[in-house]
Symmetry: C2
Subunit: 248 residues, 2 copies
DNA sequence: CGACACATTGACCAGACTCAAAGCTAGTGG
DNA sequence: CCACTAGCTTTGAGTCTGGTCAATGTGTCG
């Protein structure tokens, strides 16, 4: 826990924002001067809970997080995955009660930024406000893409689509390349994200391996046939609205 | 088609915005002075298409619209339903390419508002900018709720959850009450929204009628057992972030 | 070496899909 | 005012994708 301004934390955010929009020097400086409180968290810990009324937003600096919702009978739906640079609860700035939870998937370092400072930042820098708004809009676009996968794609296509998305999002912030990216989550997590069971995920993964589409071992995903993966999942990267398109 | 300022159009928007946030007189006046071009559209017409780069936003004044995405093999996923007061493509203000289509479900009256005027409005009125941002955030919350339903609810529960949501959204803008609301869509539309087939939707609806949960005839939904409907779908209205909670 | 979490397998089951055929019902035109 | 139509709803029978339950492998870490 620290309260000194932290360059790494804000560089992380700046890199992410630059992946979705150009950033002026003035905006960059304004971000760098945001006060943050850095926390290190274990894997599988809640950051904010369903029903909370948070007073800070949470910037992921290292590790993975996810939004999720719990239902009766222990059912869990993961709503999104988050990687360094993301602010997964940015929406709490304008919707005061959390309608889902946010938790870590791995050990993670997160920075808490008070709402008041973000409000002041967006008031003083309308350009930044627009970029943050844009970020939440892209988020919404990802939810829509997940809806399409859930509703109208087979389990196989759905998994393929998710892998394309994760690879591109990681690549956009410099955390993946060469068709190789970290995937530090269990098959049960994958199942909860895709609305399937762990058993079925396991079978789909084996089918993907059998077709030499991917390799997945020790939390690393290697995409062996990128264009085939795009094709089977009908993947179109438009919805990620990335600034630098390096879609392979 | 007209270009005179239209009171009904903007009252519609004002009522919607008031359903999610308090509105100052100054904001109200600013909205009333937005220029609009009113169009009347037939049912099942596209308003904006996947891939378009729109220069206007579209305010629904009368009738229903939906966002949807088409896949190969004629598969369609409906992503959201929109009712009078909604601006379903507000996101186009900050993401320039449409990643899905927007079309009417019924005959509809829509107002087109140029992006430039909306940009100017949000620049001059940060309070309104915040409300529009909030609106898109609530939209995202609805996508998340749909994800939960798709991933972890049975067809029966999913239908029940959607009916609760639609009823409350309509009620919030004065278009429903007394457990009765318009539902001017076919079972095939419902199927495309819920990721099911029309045949299965039909069977689920019959089961709901059998349990006296609902009546659905001539495009009118009557909820016969509100609390039971809430219970079976584990419905929690928090995610709608409505200003006046009249959740029965 | 044990323990624990995670991955894999097999056998069986069920919710939702497919295909195809009838029924309705609200408009339309004669 | 009735017959016709087109689009929607309903029904039945058979299928299949993905679920369930339970056991067995396979790391990895202390």
């Amino acid at each position: 826990m620290s309260s000194a301004p932290d360059n790494h934390a804000m560089n992380c955010l700046i890199r992410k924002l630059e992946s979705i929009a150009p950033l002026s020097d003035r905006s960059r400086q304004a971000i760098e001067s945001l006060p943050v409180r850095i926390h290190k968290l274990d894997a599988r810990r809640d950051i904010v809970r369903d029903g909370d009324k948070p007073t800070h937003c949470c910037l992921i600096i290292d590790g993975w997080a996810c939004r999720y919702k719990l239902l009766s009978q222990g059912k869990r739906q993961i709503l999104s995955f988050h990687i360094p640079g993301d602010i997964p609860d940015l929406q709490s700035l304008h919707t005061h009660t959390m309608d889902h939870s946010l938790g870590t998937m791995t050990e993670a370092t997160v920075a808490f930024i008070p709402h008041e400072n973000l409000r002041e930042l967006t008031a003083r820098h309308p350009g930044l406000a627009a970029i943050f708004w844009r970020d939440t809009l892209i988020d919404a676009g990802i939810f829509r893409a997940w809806l399409v996968s859930m509703g109208r794609r087979s389990a196989f296509e759905h998994v393929a689509h998710l892998f394309c998305e994760l690879y591109l999002k990681l690549q956009a912030v410099g955390l993946a390349g060469n068709y190789r990216c970290p995937l530090p989550i269990t098959q049960a997590d994958l199942a909860d994200a895709l609305g399937l069971t762990p058993v079925h995920i396991n079978r789909v993964l084996q089918e993907m391996r059998g077709k030499t589409l991917i390799t997945l071992r020790s939390s690393t995903l290697v995409i062996e046939a990128w264009s085939e993966l795009l094709r089977v999942s009908e993947f179109d990267p438009t919805y990620l609205h990335l600034e630098k398109r390096a879609t392979g």
